[in-house]
């Protein structure tokens, strides 16, 4: 018997590790879950592989690749657990982190009471080194070799083994930083070092320094983690199993490479979820997709158009800004555990505080005392009075008592209170969805919303109503979409070079030179990843603005030799995109000059995507598993509602609300006025119920 070719996607979450196995030959997809093992995540990881292979009836030898979404870097940053870190910068700029950009967040007058968070590196672990470049990369003063050596020894003596290096204008010329790294290798060989010209070749020294320091900060832990898994995979299989890690930019990269650019993994999980959902929606016939991934504490929303997620370089993780390209995800504090509370002003608020999984909602009976979104759902009958297909019962009476109490304080009925909590949560999600679309000049009504995750689909009818979204798609196994997404993405690396010049002063040859250099780096990386030259794909983009603006708009740069026509095309695309984004442009106005700021190349190595198979042949019409009293509208009260088990529903099945569709780990309440249809790929498609003929 010849070996099968199985690829595995593993998404490690806080509570569960989701695993998906895809047989490249048969197209079969198998999913499962195992408990996560936060103490040593590798244990849960390998247990997950064993479990999914057992279900698939396959051997370890059949595994051709493993793709992984990890939150190791993210959690480290969110928890602010950054170990002793040193910062080496240009002499005269040692206080760069204290000064930052001088900005105080949020409201006017906050400068009087704002308390600045601790810096990522305290001032006593910052050292300056002499030597200075100008903005073209030319040397103003030579690099101070002796000073650099003293600094390297000093950090070694101090026992500081993780270092970030950022010198002024290193984006234009990495020579001084590379020299620093070489000296550190000689004087302090144990040090883990990140240099800014490798992490982010983009101007603005504070942001580049922070990005470099974040990269350095997560490097030791991520390296240990990835290497550990790689070694155990090798031990288990007796060979080297190709092992990929999901990046924030919507691509994957081999474990060997990703340890050198750990910051690129910070949004690993959300990126995989968005791309998995988008692929499912695309196969179902939808190209413009909003994704909404609802978990226990928060909901992540993003935009995917034609399979490409919208990216941002202005993201942050926790309190740490990151200028690395990452999928533009907006996270709202709206999950099953989000707490409803009364502000001192007496208004009802929902989230962002969460009861999490422990103590969890009141109805979990694990000590939770505050009303959560899950409590409101169970009180209204929108979810079953138990979890995970019946394994864990929920205490509806306790939830009810607490909601009555909260309603009493507000002077409204318990039903109005519970629906109100959910309505506020839905608006919070809706505002996030508006935010990701409006700021890109997109109209939310042109999109199909894809909801997944444990709590993602519970409010979909309200979201349709608030946002005027015509269609919502709920994929099968909504808890496994992120793990599935890991199997759908290509290898991808991004390279940037700042090159500030007005359009009229741009020399196509200069641009050609820079793009060639970037493409060369991208190609070298793809070759290293094992892609034949014929399979290399490159995407060129440029960040462009009107002279004097501080923010740029990213536009595609046509393939082929760079000519004056190329430049005209880039300018035209910029004018058009600016109009889409902001409602006006200065096309044809010679007084308004176009300025190119950054040149970018992404190198892409394509991998085989799983094909989503059509569902089996039609089956007999299913029967409801029962009925339940469900409240969809406080004024209308409770209505007896049929309950269906999702795996029973055949393709083509149409159910008209009110109806509740349940499956393992997720529920879809379909409100009156909405219709759910099961498509050929086992997705649930929700639309508004067509009105009958007008009279």
């Amino acid at each position: 018997m010849t070996a099968r070719r199985i690829r595995i996607g593993i998404d490690t979450g806080g509570t569960f590790t989701d695993v998906v196995a895809f047989d490249e030959d048969s197209g079969e997809v198998v999913t499962t879950k195992t408990p996560s093992t936060p103490g040593n995540p590798a244990d849960g990881f390998l247990a997950g592989i064993d479990k999914v292979l057992e279900i698939a009836g396959a051997q370890f030898d059949d595994v051709v690749a493993v793709s992984h979404g990890t939150t190791v870097a993210t959690n480290q940053l969110l928890e602010g657990k950054v170990d002793a870190l040193g910062f080496i910068t240009t002499a005269g700029y040692e206080a760069m982190l204290e000064i930052a950009r001088q900005s105080v967040p949020d409201g006017y007058g906050n400068s009087y009471f704002w308390v600045k968070p601790d810096r990522i590196v305290p001032r006593d672990l910052v050292q300056g080194v002499g030597g200075r470049l100008d903005f073209t990369g030319a040397e103003i003063r030579p690099f101070d070799e002796d000073g650099a050596r003293r600094v390297a020894r000093w950090f070694r003596a101090k026992g500081i083994d993780t270092l970030g290096v950022c010198f002024l204008h290193a984006y234009a010329n990495p020579a001084h930083e590379e020299r620093m790294r070489a000296i550190l290798a000689e004087e302090h060989p144990d040090a883990v070092v990140s240099i800014s010209s490798e992490v982010l070749r983009e101007y603005r020294e504070y942001e580049r320094s922070m990005t470099t320091l974040v990269d350095a900060a997560v490097k030791p832990k991520l390296s240990r983690y990835v290497t550990n898994i790689k070694d155990r995979l090798a031990t288990q299989s007796g060979r080297t199993v190709p092992f990929y890690v999901m990046k924030s930019n919507g691509g994957v990269l081999s474990a060997d490479e990703v340890v050198h650019q750990p910051i690129t993994t910070v949004l690993s999980g959300p990126a995989a979820g968005a791309l998995g959902a988008a692929l499912i929606a695309k196969v179902a016939g939808f190209d413009k997709v909003l994704t909404s991934d609802g978990g226990g504490t928060s909901t992540d929303v993003s935009v995917v158009i034609d399979g490409d997620p919208t990216l941002t370089t202005e993201g942050s993780v926790g309190v740490y800004p990151s200028k690395i390209p990452m999928i533009d995800v907006v996270t709202v504090g709206a999950g099953g555990g989000s707490i409803a509370w009364l502000s001192p002003e007496g208004t009802l608020k929902v989230g962002p505080h969460s009861a999490g999984a422990d103590p969890g909602p009141i109805c979990y009976r694990k000590g939770g005392a505050e009303v959560t979104i899950t409590d409101a759902h169970v009180f209204l009958g929108r979810i079953p009075p138990h979890l995970l297909g019946g394994e864990i019962p929920l205490d509806v009476d306790a939830a009810s008592a607490a909601i009555q109490q909260l309603a009493g304080k507000l002077g409204i009925t318990a039903e109005a209170c519970a629906t109100g909590i959910l309505e506020i949560s839905a608006w919070n999600q809706a505002n996030a969805l508006r935010q990701v679309t409006v700021k890109r000049g997109l109209d939310v009504r042109d999109f199909t919303l894809t909801t997944f995750g444990g709590s993602g689909s519970l409010l979909l009818c309200r979201l349709m109503d608030i946002l005027n979204v015509p269609t919502v798609l709920v994929p099968p196994n909504p808890g496994n979409v992120s793990a599935f997404g890991l199997l759908t993405v290509d290898v991808k690396n991004d390279y940037v070079q700042t090159h500030v010049a007005l359009q009229e002063n741009l020399d196509p040859a200069d641009l050609q030179h820079d793009y060639d250099a970037l493409t060369e780096r991208a190609a070298a990386a793809l070759t290293k990843e094992g892609f034949a030259e014929a399979d290399h794909a490159f995407v060129r983009t440029a960040d462009v603005r009107y002279f004097g603006q501080a923010f740029e708009v990213r536009v595609g740069v046509p393939d082929g030799p760079v000519t004056t026509e190329t430049l005209t095309t880039v300018a035209d695309r910029f004018h058009a995109e600016h109009r889409v984004l902001y409602g006006y442009d200065f096309s044809g106005d010679p007084s308004q000059q176009v300025e190119v700021v950054n040149l970018r190349v992404s190198g892409i190595g394509p991998i085989k995507r799983p094909e989503i198979l059509r569902a089996d042949a039609p089956r007999p019409a299913p029967q409801p598993t029962g009925t339940r009293s469900v409240c969809f509208d406080a004024e209308a009260g409770y209505v007896e509602t049929p309950i269906f088990w999702r795996p029973d529903l055949p393709a083509g099945q149409v159910l008209t609300g009110p109806v509740v569709i349940e499956e393992f780990g997720s529920t879809v309440p379909v409100h009156p006025g909405f219709t759910a249809r099961v498509d050929d790929f086992a997705n649930i498609i929700v639309t508004r119920t067509q009105q009958t003929e007008e009279s």
Partner: protein
């Protein structure tokens, strides 16, 4: 007869006067008194909808501000974030609370609301016709009415407004902020409220006149486009909210939002202030025309009792404020019942809330207005200037007033207010770059904030939210200089149990001859310390420090010549200290020395801390020596040898510069408690 009796009183009967008739201070009449949209002031509003409406208002405000920030050109908008969007209801009440904003009053005064049409965009920047909402001419203000209702019955339900500080609107100097101006006519083009767009049609003539009068016509045109587009987008978004829930329902929520804000301030802020009256004053030090002197700004604060016939509230009387300045530091405050100034000053009140987290949560919307009464001195003072007095540097007054209010409150609450900060000044260089093109590099450098009873002040921050400094890697690519260093000014933070934050020390080496400009206060006077805390160090600019041509530059300078190769050293203000520095934890003083915030000399002189060991983090000395520490016994005896604070010590420390301008006095009479 007192003028206050002639003004509209929000329906209440004229009542007893609480101000001293001798001061001659008065209320400022308004044709738009505070009122509510619904009979019960929103008390019956659905609590769920109130939260949804408030969330939507915040989202719209955020979207409008984001659109402006991302497309604007003027550095004051783009980097310094000196712009704001606001949402106002049809009673002209400000609904959003994250930021200050201008007023709709001048637009509604000149264009009756019922005659407005969809697609109208109003514009104004005329300080004297702005009802106090615009402080200087570069602040260009765009107002868009929001319409809602069924077809044929659509009417104005709200306003979206944005204003921003533009590069140049003409006048005597580039940047339209002539520090030696003696009238508004030297400050640029003043436009009273006009229709910039009439039912969707832009008024090209008006736009042409404005751009023709600016030295930066392209950026002016682009910034106006950015503001108009953003406000129109916001108006559409807000209109959708009305169409979804109906005008009456949404307006009931507006009432509830404002009323809850009033009640929150009453409960969490007013409750912290005892009933009584206190007076304090502070000063601008120069006006660009006369010799440096004390330009007094004074507030007499009265906190009335709950059973006061006119209500429980704060009365702020500005009587005693100095005469109108010849130079441009005047601010037009006495219009429309002081409604702009009330919302401008109210954020300071938030410092009385229980925790810094709670302070940050409190919105400043129109709900603060019913809790504040203002009394203004007769025309002809810094705060009641008479047309055409110049106003371009009015930050010297309105920013200082934030501190005067903080100080007078500190007297009322035993010092539980932050010490002083000064975080706005304009510094820059201009001339021709290496290719011979003219340029103006102007930036707003912040300073240290004051110590608080719960924390040190912060280094190099800025009062305007999200205002950013300019990256060296940006400025060096555009202007002919090298920023040799950008650091913190050692010892600039006022000593205290909680130290003041540090100011900047920035070194700019010119590659070509240029002119330096500065518009800054607090170069003689300093940011005050309170309750035993010391003043911070003042602003200082030195050209060629340590070189043959070393010279200090006046803080109000339009065109100081600098030659290629010379370095400009700018030190900005440190914040005032809070509490007795001898009570500061010596370990924190050691940390400050290690962090290069306090010198070893100041550790002993200001804090009485006797240091031991070496600064081990200096690689040039290696790390073999004993690390820096302190001698506990020697520190205790050093501290015991210092004079014990006395009950009649001044409650504020204004620094050594005060004596220079006061004729030698070390403190003002109002600096004592009980005055």
């Amino acid at each position: 007869m007192c003028l206050s009796c002639q003004t509209v009183h929000n329906g209440s009967a004229p009542a007893a006067h609480h101000h001293d008739a001798d001061t001659g201070s008065r209320r400022a009449p308004t044709q738009f008194p505070f009122g509510t949209l619904t009979a019960d002031a929103g008390r019956s509003a659905d609590p769920v909808l109130v939260e949804i409406v408030q969330g939507s208002l915040a989202a719209v405000e955020h979207e409008v501000e984001t659109a402006i920030a991302r497309t604007s050109r003027s550095p004051m908008i783009r980097d310094a974030h000196d712009f704001r969007a606001g949402i106002h209801d049809r009673l002209l009440r400000k609904l959003t609370g994250r930021s200050y904003s201008a007023l709709v009053h001048p637009v509604a005064r000149d264009f009756p609301i019922e005659e407005m049409q969809e697609g109208d965009v109003f514009f104004h920047n005329d300080v004297y016709l702005s009802e106090g909402g615009i402080g200087h001419l570069p602040d260009l203000c765009v107002t868009v009415p929001v319409f809602a209702g069924p077809e044929g019955k659509r009417r104005v339900v709200a306003f979206i407004q944005a204003f921003g500080h533009h590069d140049d609107i003409g006048g005597a100097v580039p940047g339209s902020m002539p520090s030696h101006a003696t009238s508004v006519f030297e400050e640029g083009l003043a436009v009273p409220p006009i229709k910039l767009w009439d039912a969707g049609v832009p008024n090209r003539a008006a736009l042409t006149i404005m751009t023709r009068n600016s030295r930066m016509p392209e950026s002016l045109a682009a910034d106006l486009d950015a503001e108009c587009s953003a406000c129109l987008m916001g108006a559409r978004r807000l209109g959708e909210l009305f169409d979804r829930y109906g005008t009456e329902t949404v307006e009931s929520c507006f009432d509830a939002i404002i009323d809850r804000s009033t009640e929150t301030y009453r409960r969490e802020i007013l409750a912290k202030i005892p009933v009584g009256t206190w007076t304090w004053e502070d000063y601008a030090e120069h006006d660009g025309v006369d010799e440096p002197q004390l330009h007094t700004q004074r507030i007499t604060l009265t906190r009335t009792a709950a059973d006061d016939p006119e209500g429980e509230r704060l009365v702020l009387d500005f009587a005693g404020t100095g005469p109108q300045a010849k130079g441009p530091i005047n601010h037009c405050g006495d219009y429309s019942d002081g409604v702009f100034l009330k919302k401008w000053l109210a954020p300071i009140l938030r410092n009385l809330a229980d925790t810094p987290e709670r302070m940050a949560e409190l919105d400043v919307n129109e709900g603060v207005v019913p809790l504040i009464d203002m009394r203004f001195p007769p025309p002809g003072t810094l705060l009641t200037p008479v047309f055409p007095a110049p106003t371009n540097a009015r930050t010297f007054v309105i920013l200082r007033l934030l501190g005067v209010l903080a100080g007078v409150l500190a007297k009322a609450v035993d010092g539980r207010m932050p010490a002083d900060q000064e975080t706005i000044r304009y510094t820059g260089v201009y001339g021709e770059d290496l290719e011979g093109r003219s340029y103006l590099m102007r930036e707003v450098l912040g300073g240290g904030s004051g110590g608080r009873y719960y924390a040190d002040g912060e280094d190099t921050i800025h009062v305007v939210p999200d205002s950013r400094n300019l990256p060296t890697e940006f400025t060096e690519s555009r202007f002919p200089f090298v920023v040799e260093s950008l650091g913190l000014a050692l010892d600039s933070g006022g000593a205290g149990q909680f130290r003041g934050g540090l100011g900047y020390e920035k070194h700019i080496r010119m590659l070509k001859d240029a002119h330096f400009m500065s518009i800054a206060d607090r170069s003689i006077l300093a940011c005050w310390g309170v309750k035993g805390g010391k003043a911070g160090r003042p602003f200082q600019v030195t050209i060629d420090p340590g070189g043959p041509n070393e010279r200090d530059v006046d803080a109000l300078a339009d065109a100081e010549p600098v030659v290629a190769g010379e370095t400009i050293r700018i030190r900005t203000t440190g914040g005032g200290g809070w509490g007795n520095p001898l009570e500061r934890d010596p370990a924190l003083v050691v940390r400050d020395v290690v962090w290069r915030k306090v010198s070893p000399e100041a550790a002993l002189a200001d804090y009485g801390v006797v240091l031991t060991g070496e600064l081990a983090d200096d690689p040039s000395t290696g790390s073999g020596q004993a690390e820096l520490g302190y001698d506990a016994a020697a520190t205790a005896s050093e501290r015991a040898s210092r004079p014990v604070p006395a009950a009649d010590d001044a409650f504020f420390d204004r620094g050594p510069g005060y004596g220079t301008l006061s004729g030698g006095a070390s403190a003002a009479a109002v600096d004592l408690l009980g005055v």
